[in-house]
Symmetry: C2
Subunit: 340 residues, 2 copies
């Protein structure tokens, strides 16, 4: 049987014949499309390797998925990275990591590099993208999805988030049920929507229990331990200090616990503390942290699947917004308020 | 002046003329070589962009540096990633992240993908590479360096590590100077050289103080909090329990602190704890953790620079082994032994 091109190399048709599938399916595998079964993909990949098939197109050659962080410095980011990596791995793609540093959006060099790398898609952990960058990615048919637990949603960009309002509500209700009436909050940064959603959940829980929200007990943080420490010190220095503090992230909760220690307060006897995120370390604080579990890894997995679906030509059911649920995890940092 | 090739595109010679440098220097920039000043590189990159220069070779097109982790699940890994990213960024390269999961070496699919991606180089956070993988990387002139704080050194592969023995010595001396005589150790996993180096430093510190090492007080851990908890529970249940424990990692130290709490022991009044690594969280434990600082980010930076130097054709001064120093950081988890 005659095979190969004029140089004796296998053609797409040869590969398709050997795999007993259509040329278009081989092409789908080469282009990293998701609408091919894993078994077929494996078979095609094996045959491609056996023929040492040289892929022409850059994208199909060594498929990449990009994840762009605003900050790359916490377990929070690591959880997201692992989620992206899991799904990329299922699709034979490698993960490129970039971060924008002090900027809330990627710098000017970033888009040039992405357009040259031609990834299957981009997962952004940022507030949003400047219109010019969106235009350039769209012009090259590079799909992108935003994971926005820390950011404001961009109405024309598909996004994956979690139920921040419900999380704030659950954390505050838990403290109310324990008997707390003076409940402080150190929510996230004031310029992020998720911080407002968690704060609104807190307010609603108080209102539904017939309690008013005392503005003195409300603070905005920075999602880091340092911010939690500084804000909690202020709350704990109030004449009528709170008996419980809901921190807008586990890292902020670490700072709140340190503030308690500096004020000579025991957790949970003198001060109850609730975190947000449920990072691995939440079970290793002393005492172990009661927190709102945000399914970070699953969020990143969903975002990556969404990028690949868009890449595969699935119609964008605009505006796409996936919201995963949050759950309260009760450990040892919360208790009924002590008698003082 | 006549310029460009037959299609009117800028050639290397055009770029070199405009930048007022030699063609070989332009070529060095395109190939991600490190022996070009940052100023020259910036100028060349700017001119290349202005001409929308299409790089022919895949490697120069969108340069990648790969980092391969054994485990991708801790702040420890995040620190290394940030170090690689810093240096890659300086060289206009993107970082590809992979991890080998349960395996101590990358899986069979990994090498195929790397050979297709043709990165500038590979930074491995693994015990080593099977000979076949080393052969394949060398055949394609893809340099690789091992960061081996957790691994056994591979004599024919350049590596970057830190002074584990000196770290173990410093931690133990600190406890002896505070007056401790019953000092336990939960070092790293038994199959890693660094765990043995830290244990030997511990033994030497004891011997130099005229103290014997009690085999009952020596345990091997798993570098995770779970392992620290399990081993410390055993040490603290001994009839003549230690008054101090040196944990082979900060995560293990979290487990040791939890074990102390479960035994009703206060840190540092009843039990002193020393960690290893100095992750960000070490300053946020209650009390803040005394630990041996391992310069993880710098280690990753050095490893990446070494990869790029090898790529740039610098002679490998075999066997290359860079060892960065460790330093004791004294915080609040250590004190003189209490009166019992």
């Amino acid at each position: 049987m005659e095979k190969g091109d004029e140089l004796g190399r296998a053609t797409l048709a040869d590969i398709a014949r050997e795999a007993e599938i259509s040329v278009s399916t081989v092409s789908k595998v080469l282009n990293g499309r998701t609408d091919v079964s894993a078994a077929t993909r494996d078979r095609v990949e094996r045959i491609l390797r056996a023929h040492d098939y040289q892929r022409g197109a850059r994208g199909g050659e060594a498929p990449l998925i990009e994840i762009v962080f605003h900050e790359l410095d916490s377990l929070w980011a690591m959880e997201l990275l692992r989620g992206v990596e899991t799904v990329a791995d299922e699709h034979g793609a490698a993960v490129v990591v970039a971060h924008s540093g002090s900027r809330r959006a990627p710098g000017p060099g970033w888009i040039d590099a992405v357009l040259r790398r031609r990834p299957l898609g981009v997962v952004l952990v940022l507030s949003g993208l400047p219109p010019e960058l969106k235009r350039q990615l769209r012009a090259r048919s590079i799909p992108f999805v935003i994971i926005d637990p820390a950011g404001n949603p961009d109405p024309d960009v598909p996004s994956v988030g979690s139920a921040n309002w419900a999380g704030g509500l659950a954390a505050t209700r838990h403290l109310i049920e324990l008997g707390h009436r003076r409940i402080g909050i150190v929510t996230g940064p004031e310029d992020t929507l998720c911080a407002h959603a968690r704060l609104d959940g807190y307010r609603s829980a108080l209102a539904m229990a017939g309690l008013g929200a005392d503005p003195d007990l409300i603070a905005y943080g920075d999602f880091h331990a340092e911010g939690g420490l500084a804000r909690a010190k202020r709350l704990l220095a109030l004449p009528d200090r709170p008996t419980a503090i809901f921190a807008g992230s586990d890292l902020q909760a670490l700072g709140v616990m340190e503030a308690a220690r500096l004020h000579g307060l025991r957790v949970p006897e003198d001060l109850s503390v609730v975190g947000y995120d449920d990072l691995d370390l939440a079970q290793w604080t002393s005492p172990a942290l009661t927190t709102v579990r945000q399914p970070l890894r699953e969020m990143a997995e969903q975002a990556t699947r969404l990028v690949l679906a868009l890449r595969g030509g699935e119609p964008p059911t605009a505006p796409t917004r996936l919201e995963l649920s949050t759950t309260l995890v009760v450990r040892s940092s919360t208790a009924a308020p002590g008698r003082r």
